[in-house]
Amino acid sequence: MASAACVMMGVAFRPPPSANFSPQPADMLSNRALPVAVFLATATFVSAEDVDFSRDILPLLSDRCFKCHGPDEANREAGLRLDHKDAILTALESGNHAVVAGDRAKSSVFERISSSETDLKMPPVDSGKKLSSAEIELIGKWIDQGAAWADHWAFVPAKDQPVPAAQAGWNVTNPIDNFIQRDVKAAGLTPSERASRETLIRRATLDLTGLPPTVAEIDSFLADKSENAFEKVVDRLLSSEKYGEHLGRFWLDAARYGDTHGLHLDNERSVWPFRDWVINSFNNNQRFDQFTIEQLAGDLLPNPTLSQRVATGFNRCNVTTSEGGSIDEEYYVRYAVDRVETTATVFLGLTAGCAACHDHKFDPLTQKEFYQLFSYYFSLTERAMDGNALLPPPAVKVPTPSQVAAKAQYAADHAAATAEIRKILADFDYKDPAPDAPLGELSQSDFVWIDDALPAGAKAQGNGANPWQFVGAPDHPVYRGKLSTVRTGTDASITQHFFTDATDKLKIGENSRLFAYVYLDPKNPPETIQLQFNDGQWDHRATWGADKAFNAGRNDVTNKLQGKLPELGKWVRLEVPAADVGLKPGSELNGWAFTQVKGTVHWDAAGVVTTSLSPEQSRSLFAWEQFQKSGKAPGVPDNIRKILDVDRAKRNDAQKTQLTRYFLEKVHPDAQAKLAGPIARQAEINRKQQELEKAIPSTLVMEDRKDPRQAHILERGEYTLKRDPVKSAVPEWIAPAVPGAPSNRLGLAQWLVQEDHPLTARVTVNRFWQQFFGIGLVRTSEDFGVQGERPSHPELLDWLARDFVKSGWDVKKFLKQIVMSSTYQQASVVTADKLAADPENRLLSHGPRFRLDAEVIRDQALSVSGLLVDRIGGKSVKPYQPAGLWKPVGFGGSNTATFVQDKGEKLYRRSMYTFWKRTSPPPSMATFDAPNRETCTVRRARTNTPLQALVLMNDVQFVEAARRFAERTVVEGGDNPASQLSWAFRSVLSRRPSETELKSLLSLYEEYRTEFTANPEAAMKLLAVGESARNEQLNAANVAAWTMVTHLILNLSETVTRG
């Protein structure tokens, strides 16, 4: 047996390092959790064959030696490095040679590792690392055989691998099978049968859409006798929109997508349009190279489309903060580091993070190279502090298709109204009734904004518990109406009452003057009074008396000094030209503040004063013209102003017409009456347009600064310890820079997707493989470096990577190839022999089987219950979660401190739309190993805990799903319990129940039916779980009994497993 193993290793078949398929000593077999046992065998029998450096030696050197004798220059001992071909052969500081090719006796490396003296022994005893005698022998052997050196496999471009010959009599669909079956054969195993059609359709539907097939879909597949029946199913699934959701969901883990900032307040942020972009991108089968470029650098493409800019949300998904006292520089560094780590993990399969602090201990990535990558992300326009805002800039608006359509409709309606206005004006036969009369008296009018109450929408604020004190006569002076306001200052500080957010805004016109009436108490006069106006900000102030209020010391629009206090003991009108306090015509006030220092002050009637023409005057163009020239009239557009400036007699016809039309439209009451209809329509359209603008979602995007920030190497990764400056650059030992590519993120992206990049395609196809087989060809899908696992099927990985690139990075084609392979379609049933030979099924001699992901488990339950909402995209939703989860992590002032559960259909959207609060991720997702989305994750753990059982047993979402599933079972499952049970079974598991399953579940159903019939109250309680209404036409006891059964079905191990 032992010799069989070593022969196997000598031929073309290379065993996956951890596949436990070779014969082992009996005591090793006793613990299957030790797949490592195979290596004892490997090492023991190695003398019969050549040592493969990359497979056998490099991992040893990397793990036992590189920490002190590796790429990290700062921590290199004795000047010896073992990570480089030339270095191991050159003379050491001592004059000896670490390795003398062909002679272990002269090689100090061998002397030291085989030494029995504690002082000489390598690795040092206190390092906690050891080499076994088999390993020492292996290294000796390698030296004797010439110490051949090879680069790490993943850093060498993938080669076009020849497809192995098919195995006679075995079922081969495509080249995947040729590669897989060659190794199955070499291991003395045979592939499994094709899985049953029921298993196949469930497997493919779950794998491609994340949902189970419906009974109708199963029936249609079972009935289809054509040869390509399964291919038709696969094509249908690949063109289903649910495919994009499912594929996108994996990508969101990699993109660390979340709906909150992550740190401190953990407020909501809006980047979900990026999530929808990902879904669409997969559904449209966007080329993966383009998908990569747009996410990393869509904004830098020539004339980027909106969609390309939205794609850059990928690297805005990182965790950010706005905590007071944080230092900007530290966070700029932290964000850039996160983006390098994410980019490296997702596209390069490298653990770059190590090199933030020092040269990578194991892979050749230097610290300098890390900061060169870092530099790409160090010059963004984003701010270090996110301001706890929904949309920390840069952000873009992303209208939905229906919003785009509505926008176009409004524009058309607006244009139609404009045309109608033009026509009315053209048809209006105007003659000036007083073409030469001089302008008479103008009328002045006060518009009082604040009197006995605040304007609509105003939020009253100010010092004291009850800041707005409205008071009346006779105890208090009142100027107008019934009330005035009063305030008494107590100490030296400024005191005030004010409001903001008035919806009924105060419009500022040309030459508007703001006024307010004030009464200063002669017994307790203030030192200062101040009026402040808010047009979105407060920097518009007028001050009377001592310069002691806001912005004291300045005399500009933010604190315009008006001289001494008005006379005491009487109502005085304060008036200030709007222009003096920096308010431009057209601006609108939403807030006003009455401010004082000490004293007792009454305020009343405040607003704006405007001057206007009488109705008579406003029928005369000439009168209006004079009014305009008086400087008291509201402003006119520049083109009209220019015409007015031309002498009346010298205006040409066009100018006259233009002026007349403007006058008619804006001033002449009779013309205005005729225009009222279209003008009102336009106003309505404007209002709707504004509403639409508000409703259009926005999303975070990337944008580079015009003046790039200089990046430095940071010692130990500390932002304060800047060392040499570095420029953006790619690590060229992985692949050469693309000639002529720009030195920005676009250049980085182009570098990643160049055809012969050794990593991007391999890493990508491996991740897809992992998705369909549970384990990647390289198990460590996040680490293709020296410390990562070597591929179980290196030639297949190369072949797939090359094929993927040559297909034009065609994802759907690639996935179809996987799903169509015989390898994928094998039954998952395993024999004891196979289990003993290859417990992890790395050879794929049978179909893979693994627990479903968190989202799929919930979506499956929603789907079979009929509750699942069939809509793609949109704002994230908040379905059920146990009470009080957000509160404990919520800071006061956080807008996600309190969880407000959504209602209605938002409870039943696919799980990928569940609002992801980073400091408290959706609990049932987290329980089933969903990551917290704080950092990039390309591979989830797959655990099995009692907390998961509690979720499936007791969570309202699942119990409600069971009860609605029960209703469907009664309604859709046929007319007798046996057929109903069969329908329910098939809805979840695709297969029909076995005889014993049918019998036991039916008898359970009957038992419960009796119990619930006897106890209708309990039935009603069970049927009231969840917010969806029950079907009252159905017998409650029956449905309750079925609920118990469907609940059990949803808890079956097979249900949460994809086999």
Binding site: P17, A33, L34, V36, F39, A43, P59, R64, G128, K129, K130, L131, S132, A134, G325, G353, C354, K361, F362, D363, R779, T780, Q787, E789, R790, V829, T831, L835, E840, R851, P882, A883, G884, L885, K887, P888, V889, T919, T927, E934, A941, R942, N944, T945, P946, L947, L950, V951, M953, N954, D955, L1004, Y1008, E1011, A1018, K1021, L1022, M1044, L1052, S1053
Partner: protein, 469 residues
Amino acid sequence: MTELQHSFLPRREVLYGLGSSLGAVALSAILHADEKQPSTNGHPGPHHEARAKRCIFLMMEGGPSHLDTFDPKLELTKRHLQEFNRGGEEQSAMSSGKRYFVKSPFEFIKAGESGADINRRFEHLQTCVDDICFYRGAFVESVNHPTACYHVNTGNRFGGDPGVGAWVNYGLGSQNDNLPGFVVLPNTSYPQGGAANWSNGFLPAEYQGTPFRPAGSPILDLTPPRGMTRKQQRKNLDLLATLNRQHLQSRPGRSELEARLNSYELAYRMQTEVPEVLDLEGETPATLEMYGIGNAKTDSFGRKCLLARRLVEKGVRFVQAFASNWDSHDYIERAHGSLIRSVDRPIAALLKDLKQRGLLKDTLVIFCGEFGRTPDNGFRGGGKSYGRDHNANAMAMWFAGGGTRAGHTVGATDEIGEKAAEVRHHIRDVHVTLLHLLGLDDNKLTYYHAGRFKQLSQFGGQVINELID
């Protein structure tokens, strides 16, 4: 629970003894946790004979002042309100403006036979000092709450790593099949840094701390649905087990099925066991009073301490109880005085109760915050409302039971208490020592993740022998 279905990682020495692609082997164990064969010896530890079987970690969040609790400094009294200049390196974001030395407003006594220094306000704890090993040599790196909390609780300043309790359970496994091995008793408001303080990090999810919420259902989804009786639930579980087992028979070697059956049983048992542990009805009035339960001031932390005892009694390996708000930048006499009152009686009761039940000798109790406080402060209220700011260079910490040196004070800070000066150790060495007492070797308790073997101390540390009896 853990030995039934947890993931298994071969011991490091086993790995090194057999040459392999290490990452691959370790990860095979990690990622296919639920496909692994159950093992009776499924944990890396213990690595040596343990002094402690379990640990209660009293985490004083906010940074209690060592200078006002267990480390009095006469020198500060002498220099009270003299101007203080700090070196550039010690600058913190909050140290702007002129600063002054401030004396402790508290009176200190020398308590017990050991004559330990203690603030007189610890009326109850002062009677326990002969069971305590005070430690003055520890320091951390960060002066920010969340990063320092992460550092003390997970060994990594930036979070994302497993909590200490997760490491311990990964190393040793649980002793009770009906309860999680790592239970956290937080306040309604979680500490800074949130649940990441007791995360499983990269370890399998079963090792994460399970927070028992202070109000409402202590574990989510612990109650069966309305309308479903426990009997019905049992009936469903029995048939579920039968059907799953039938399925299992047609698929030999599918150990994850077996594991799933077991996790359902544990879940079912937790539904009764957890509420039972939480039910304090069975405790005598004297015990309740001893812990300060029923007294508004001490009730909250008293319940946590009593619950901690009940949990470790039931075999829970690691309990972490949080007390918050130690961040006294001003009015320290009032603020710390009140906090001391809220924890003093409960902690003393816990130590005495453990001792009288014979549990203290093999239960390690730790008291610490995320950092200590400064000897100086701004001139608040003209020196009347002073407090202390954050100080990473020294901190309040003590141990009891579990093989630590009872009745000793180990290490010292400098004369003004600004910096740990003697038996000076980074927090990582405290972690290494904690593991050591529990029979675990930090260098062997590793887990392969993101390109390297990770460990609680990050890159290794040393055992603080002075703390060990």
